[in-house]
């Protein structure tokens, strides 16, 4: 990616001139490309994942059992999608606090469609996701029309969506779902891999393609990085913001529907009061993965690895019989540590002209 000159000879004198003297770096023995790779977020996360996997595998015998691996993969699948649903909004320079609330709304709508309306499960999924897109777009429209920060709007809609959902469902659950659908969440491929994880990986690929290879994805990144410049370059920033919130709604909905398939029921309290239980994983994935909170830069792979690391730590700590509250504390500390490490990493790269 970074190596323009090797695929194509530089054509202008100016470019050739600079190519002959690449910026010198502090760590002169490593090439700048390698230093950059070793200091990338994704590489760091991979190293941590391997490190913690080894530690947990040695410390607890249950960690490497096929059941444990299956459960971990299935949980990771959901956490990663939750991370994605926040990431696509963070890229635009905003936040979406209502991801959990939307996720539960979509899950309940899916439950209702399948159980009460009696539609086939795949139509139920599609219908519920359309609702997710609409709720998300509603967030986006309100943000664009009012000009308020997405923080305020989604804080309000988090309550509103959840409240309306509780009113409509009378806080009841849907537990008689089509067996094919519930089966999907319990299925094991080769005894360890959950199909949910495969769905998640596919969505990851689709998102990567979206950000790298589509006009809409590029526009979203530009609008997130500098809305003024994007607008003056002919990008409809308003539409872009609405689109990314709709996308966030769909992704939150997918996470909700995955949970339904896993537990075999759509339950209003599945993401805690107002969907708050999702907030920590929603931020942890993108932030650990190197998505800039100020917008304009996304890392799909980073978010995926970040969310996976979180799941790994949670599982491992619980297997070590660390109390659940301590797990929460550890995750909070991890978020803080990640931000600090990221800061020093970026300072280092900037100081050595590697960014």
């Amino acid at each position: 990616m970074n190596n323009v000159s090797s695929t194509q000879p530089p054509t202008s004198d100016a470019m050739r001139l600079e190519d002959e003297s690449p910026p010198r770096t502090g760590s002169s023995r490593l090439g700048p490309q390698l230093t950059r790779l070793l200091l990338s977020n994704e590489f760091g996360l991979l190293a941590l994942i391997i490190l913690f996997s080894v530690i947990f595998a040695l410390a607890t015998p249950g960690f490497t059992s096929s059941f444990s691996l299956f459960a971990m993969g299935r949980t990771a699948a959901v956490n990663i999608i939750i991370g994605f649903s926040m990431m696509v909004v963070i890229v635009s320079g905003g936040l979406n606090l209502s991801v959990g609330s939307i996720g539960v709304c979509v899950a309940m709508a899916g439950g209702w469609l399948m159980q009460v309306a009696g539609v086939p499960w795949y139509l139920g999924v599609v219908g519920a996701l359309v609702l997710g897109a609409m709720i998300g777009a509603l967030n986006g429209i309100m943000i664009v029309k009012t000009g308020l920060h997405s923080f305020i709007i989604t804080l309000a809609t988090m309550s509103i969506f959840f409240g309306v959902m509780i009113f409509l469902t009378q806080a009841g659950s849907f537990r008689e779902l089509p067996p094919e659908y519930v089966q999907f969440g319990r299925m094991k491929i080769n005894g360890v891999v959950s199909p949910l994880l495969i769905v998640t990986l596919l969505i990851g690929v689709v998102l990567s393609v979206f950000f790298r290879l589509t006009t809409s994805g590029r526009r979203l990144l530009a609008a997130g990085a500098n809305p003024d410049a994007a607008e003056l370059s002919g990008i409809r920033v308003d539409r872009t913001i609405i689109l990314c919130h709709a996308l966030s709604g769909v992704l939150a909905g997918i996470a909700g529907l995955m949970l339904v398939s896993r537990t075999g029921a759509a339950i209003p309290s599945m993401a805690g009061q107002l969907g708050q239980d999702w907030l920590l994983p929603a931020f942890l994935g993108p932030v650990l993965g190197g998505t800039l909170l100020t917008g304009g830069r996304a890392s799909v792979l980073g978010t995926l690895l970040g969310a996976f690391l979180v799941t790994l730590l949670t599982t491992g700590l619980l297997l070590l019989q660390v109390g659940a509250f301590w797990v929460q504390t550890c995750l909070g500390l991890l978020l803080l540590a990640a931000v600090l490490i990221d800061l020093s990493r970026r300072t280092y790269l900037a100081r050595h002209n590697l960014i």
Binding site: A14, E18, V209, E231, L292, I355
Partner: protein, 523 residues
């Protein structure tokens, strides 16, 4: 009489990969104005940062009053009497004038109550000295850019500066405001302060400076020479190593080519009244005016960003409804090079290819399912090469480019878009002579070979007279008239000034408050 008060001797400073300064010397006389000149990247900013304690030199020493100076930070410099007015504003917008002036000493008293009345009175002294007639209790965001500049100078003086460095203090000032500032600088000099003056505007430098130091590529091209006996060409030669080539372009007649953009009786929500304007194909129309005349606002109204209240816009002879910038770009092929390239022109955290490609995504994306970087590069690379953007790779972040190269990128994206009408707002703010000359040639060529209609907004009179075929003068959100450019500097500048002043003669009662305070603050 010519006592040296401050000396920087044999200063060297390296950053990773760059030798920013090599054995640079500068000596400052008591009560003088010393010009520090050089192109972008010549090392002026680095030298200023060393003198003011922000960076530390690798080698060499700083002497103040024959005493060796050890600066461990900006505070040391301030306490030694070295003040600086940076290029960027360093005021706190919501604080009052006097709070800003005494910001450094506000904190020293800890928990005690601030005596605002005494502070305002103390501030008054400095404001009077600078002939700045504002209430010290006014929040600075209500001031004009020039007034803010003076407040910064007051702040530096209140710290008892013996040496005062001014980094491009006139960049955003009108010529009238510049004159006011210069009379202040003269008075300061006469009272014994030594001033270092950094500017890209050589006319100003020649006007007020006594001595000059020129840097080129991190070394002294000349050191503390008297200004007397140096003319503009000598200085340019020192700065760029050769003499400036003043383009001797023939005047062109464009009165027969088709009208690309026409405004008829346009009034806007930002306050323009009955603006009439025509730009023909292949014509460069200059839009001249003082800062705050409403030129940038007019450009934004044409682009559909600000609302048009009445009147019509025609593009290529047919009426156009432009409701947003996307319409302007996609439907009517109008592009805009912003005066504020960091905020509005470029996405600094993205790469060159993304910045140049942004205007062609739409067009390229239509024909194919996936828009790869390779496709975009094939389309935009010729323009980047044509503009000679200096970069190791197209994936370089724009943030890492020099000002001149950034400006080239912000022009390249509109070349790539192939616009029919290009509005260029202050193309040479903060870029060096070489790049400026290059951009001028390019703009001229764009009109000649591509038939692009160009509306050039500039406050730089020589630039205007070099480039424009016709000059439209604006003042106070109205068009005052237009003149065919004869390329004769003296007559043209007089004619332009007459047009601006016509208004003041005709309507002497029009108060200063007519331009929106919002616009002034935004500038």
């Amino acid at each position: 009489m010519n006592k040296v008060i401050f000396r920087a001797a044999d200063i060297s400073k390296s950053f990773p990969g760059v030798k920013a300064l090599q054995q640079v010397n500068l000596s400052l006389n008591h009560g003088s104005i010393h010009a520090l000149l050089g192109e972008n990247g010549a090392g002026k900013s680095t030298l200023i940062k060393i003198i003011t304690g922000i960076h530390r030199q690798d080698h060499g020493k700083l002497m103040l009053d024959d005493q060796l100076l050890q600066l461990h930070g900006p505070h040391d410099a301030i306490s030694q009497g070295i003040g600086v007015v940076h290029q960027e504003r360093n005021l706190i917008p919501r604080f009052s004038v006097s709070e800003n002036i005494f910001l450094e000493s506000l904190g020293n008293k800890g928990q005690t109550r601030i005596d605002y009345r005494a502070m305002h009175e103390k501030a008054r002294v400095w404001l009077d000295m600078l002939a700045l007639d504002v209430d010290p209790a006014t929040p600075v965001n209500r001031l004009s850019v020039a007034q803010m500049q003076l407040v910064e100078i007051a702040k530096a003086l209140s710290l008892k500066s013996k040496v005062l460095l001014l980094d491009e203090p006139t960049a955003s000032l009108t010529s009238h405001e510049t004159d006011t500032l210069f009379s202040v600088l003269h008075r300061l000099r006469d009272s014994g302060v030594s001033l270092v003056f950094v500017s890209h505007k050589l006319e100003e430098v020649q006007e007020i400076c006594d001595q000059v130091t020129v840097l080129r590529d991190g070394v002294n091209a000349c050191e503390s020479r008297p200004m007397q006996g140096l003319d503009r060409q000598d200085i340019v030669k020192l700065m760029i190593g050769r003499s400036e080539q003043i383009p001797d372009w023939a005047a062109r007649a464009r009165s027969t080519s088709g009208i690309a953009l026409e405004l008829q009786d346009v009034c806007t929500s930002s306050g323009h009244r009955d603006v009439n304007l025509q730009v023909r194909r292949a014509e460069i129309v200059g839009l001249y005016g003082l800062v705050g005349a409403g030129r940038t606002e007019l450009a934004k109204a044409i682009l559909g960003k600000d609302r048009i209240v009445s009147g019509t816009i025609e593009v290529d002879g047919s009426p156009a409804t432009i409701s947003n910038v996307a319409d302007a770009v996609e439907k009517y092929h109008i592009g805009y090079v912003s005066e504020d390239r960091k905020q509005e022109g470029l996405i600094l955290m993205h790469s060159i290819i993304e910045n140049v490609g942004i205007t062609v995504w739409q067009q390229l994306g239509k024909a194919r399912a996936f828009l790869t970087n390779r496709t975009i590069r094939e389309h935009v690379e010729p323009y980047i090469n044509k503009l000679e953007v200096k970069t190791p790779s197209l994936n370089q972040y724009v943030n890492n480019l020099s000002g001149g190269n950034q400006q080239k990128v912000s022009v390249a994206k509109w070349l790539a878009a192939g616009v029919h009408v290009l509005i260029i707002d202050e193309p040479s703010v903060g870029i060096d002579i070489k790049t400026k000359a290059y951009l001028h040639e390019l703009i001229r060529e764009l009109a000649d070979t591509e038939d692009t209609a160009i509306l050039l907004i500039s406050s730089d009179m020589p630039e205007m007279i070099t480039l424009a075929d016709r000059i439209v003068v604006m003042n106070d959100f109205q068009v005052m008239g237009d003149i065919v450019n004869t390329r004769d500097y003296a007559t043209m500048s007089e004619a332009i000034m007459n047009l601006i002043h016509r208004k003041q003669a005709d309507k002497p009662t029009t108060p200063q408050t007519t331009p929106q305070p919002d616009n002034r603050a935004a500038l």
